[in-house]
Amino acid sequence: MGEYSVVGKRLPLKDAAEKVTGRAVFTSDVKLPGMLYAKILRSPYPHARVLRVDTGEAERLPGVKAVLSKNNAPRVKVPATFNESKVFNFPRDKCAFDEKVRCVGDEVAAVAAVNKKVAEEALKLIRVDYEELPVVFDPEEAIKPSALLIHEDRAKNIAAPIIMKFGDVEAGFREADYVLEETFRTQSQRQAPMETHCCVASFDMAGNLTVWASHQAPSALQELLAEYLGLPAAKVRVIKPYLGGGFGSKLDMHIEHICALLSRMSGRPVKIVLEREETFATVTRHAAIIRLKMGAKKDGTLTAIQAYTLTDEGAYMYHLSVLAVLARGLIGFYRCPNVKFEGYAVYTNHSCAGPMRGYGHPQSGFALESMVDMMAEKLCIDPIEFRLKNFASPGGLPECLARGAEQIGWARRKKPVKASNGKKRGIGVTCFTNGAGAGGSIRDYSAAFVKLNADGTAQLLTGAADLGTGSNTTLAQIVAEELGLKFDEVAVTAGDTGSVPYDSGAFSSRTLYMCGIAAKAAAADVKQQLLLWAAERLGVEAKDLEIKEGRVYSKQDPGKGVNFSEVTREAAENLKGKALAFLGRASITNPGHGESFGAAFAEVEVDTETGQVEVVKIVAVQDVGQAINPMVVEGQIEGGIQQMTGYALTEDVISDPKTGKMLNDNFANYMVLTSADMPNVDVSLVEVAAPAGPFGARGISEGITGGVAPAVANAIYNAVGIRLTELPMTPEKVFKALETKADDNH
């Protein structure tokens, strides 16, 4: 897009060599002298009162240094990362080691011991008396007034409903030539980062706490820990080492408070590393039931969209805001004068639902983009044309659709390819979007410092949390471009609340966008300071000066100049009272308009004899604004395709019907795509500048999450004429639907 020296380049990550040689230190690699190992005792019951916890024998086991339970843990509600919201009334409903457990896996006790083996032995010695209670797993049951209450201090198993209305949907449906209605069901997916949840906590003798945490929002975690422990924030430091993936699972405080309590109790550093089964049970994507009704005129104009939605929140309601994002995804995507959304976030005795990449878009995308195709077929309008006609704010979307259509070979679609052996091929299309940040509903701001060293190189201090998302590299590119420095001349400090300023956290595709705006602004600030110094040095006005390739020179008289590094050197070595350590700063709020749009195309091959669906190819074209680092941006989209092809076809939770426990809580049975399963992927970028983004960049990482499953569903329909409305689209479901269709035809 723009012509830049560092921005827009496919630069390798600054930390790639650390990672590829195994030198990178992740949280579970952190080792401190005297460190203890902790394990958590978890409820085997989905709903029970905890009558008695007897930890005496465990405490007496040699090597055990601290035991926590309801007998001695503080009765403090666990604060959640988003709980400051004045827009959403997030219930503060979780207390660690509570009087009641509300899902399998809920914490009952915790032990810190000299090694993992002793800790595990100690857990076995803890005796717990439970009084089992009836359970409810189905949101449609849990929402009934007669349903048992999971949180007894609430009147119902729901938060306040989310109602969004515009116009008059009844009139809109009357006006329509065609009205379609369908119920869509999406499953509870798992983030499944390769690194499980882990942390190390350590107090010093002055009561200062340091926590090394595999966490997506170090600044937020600092505040959550301070609140939970009753400490001033100045006594809490959070360090985020290299982090092995999050995808939303590490946005809240899941184990760090327990780790800190054990450290305080024992007087020693404590490490917790969750087992894979524990991470699977910690936090999930919201399963949703969406009843969607759409009305349209013969000419393809939408007249009404109405939706009724239930989201399964599980035992605790950390993120009922997923429902709001889902709502906007359904009614805000296409131009429609009459819309109504009614949704309920419902407690059940399932594991706690929370953030997972996409945050409502995968659910709404599946429903909406499936129904859009159904309506396009009813109207005999090409699905691409139908979307172009109705899309609310196209941006670069028309080009995404045009390019993607060519790359998948959309023209082939009219004449279905005859595949042999009862295998039928089809092509489907969808549009997708994501925002950058939280739209004014929760804390969403970012600060940065840029300091200049005496030799003219720069150091960016950023609150950004790099989860593998590449921000430690892309933010350096932004600062280098702004200052006219080389990429290697900018170093980045991040992930330590003791040395970097605030950032709200890595969520909502906001890191590059928000931390990038802050970094660029801080660089501009320090640049101005440098220009003022140089102006005085050269005897010109600062506004007359330009920086290019390490040289500061007068625009009027280019021969009059000084090297960037000479300015910093002179300012550092001035002995006449004018020494200056250049330090730029910025604190920015979200200007909005960071959203991204794109199109996804899927080609599938359906085996009509087995119901097996093979995704032959996915084409994704996304308007990313200026791609700061195209290699990083492509990697984000490609990774999203792996996750969401799993969402479409293979990732599901098999629950025990009595306890709601996830039975397939291991990689042998929770089917994420391997390299052999991955479809052929063709990702390309469109660049329409975002007005406020750093060099025009947009937030991009979650867009694709709304596009893949419905593209696959639409392709399956194109191939074999069956419309699947429940995820994942397993061979059993496909086969059954094919049988039903065959029966219908007789």
């Binding site: 993936g245 087992e275 391997t674």
Partner: protein, 158 residues
């Protein structure tokens, strides 16, 4: 039963370590020898993150008993560049092709790729996909990993 003193060769050097009979190879490598490049992601040998090379074969070190490595040769990711005195072509390609995001799966992925190229210097894309199918990645979608391995194969050949 208590710990036993055993000897194995790790990354080209003799290592004498005290080992519980029930210990897995990953415990010895990480906890006794400080080789943090060996990562634990599932504890059940289902994801390949803990991949090391034992007697020339890739194994999941989280389910390989440490006792199996007595007197044998073990190579972890750390040994790769230490042995060569520089990055292996696979490592260079991973860096250049953007095949690394969070980096947690990377050590295991690189060793599996090395095992492939040691056996088959000119793999097809399909052969690379199959060879790496025991190493899960949740960040990259494998696209750039596959490209990097194919590029490395071309370089090692040439």
């Amino acid at each position: 039963m208590g710990k036993r003193l055993v000897t194995m060769t790790v990354n080209g050097e003799t290592a004498e370590v005290a080992v519980e009979p029930s210990a897995m190879l990953i415990d010895v490598l990480r906890d006794e020898l400080g080789l943090i490049g060996v990562k634990d992601a599932c504890g059940r040998g289902e994801c390949g993150t803990c991949t090391v090379i034992l007697d020339g074969k890739v194994v999941n070190s989280c389910i390989t008993p440490a006792m199996k490595a007595i007197g044998k040769e073990v190579w972890t990711i750390e040994g790769l560049d230490r042995q060569l005195g520089k990055l292996h072509p696979i490592q260079e390609a991973f860096i250049e092709y953007g095949a690394i995001q969070c980096g947690f799966c990377t050590p295991g992925m690189v060793l599996s790729a090395k095992a492939l190229l040691d056996e088959n210097a000119n793999p097809t894309e399909q052969e690379v996909r199959v060879a790496l199918s025991g190493n899960l990645c949740r960040c990259t979608g494998y696209v750039k990993i596959i490209n990097a391995v194919l590029a490395a194969a071309r370089r090692v050949k040439g």
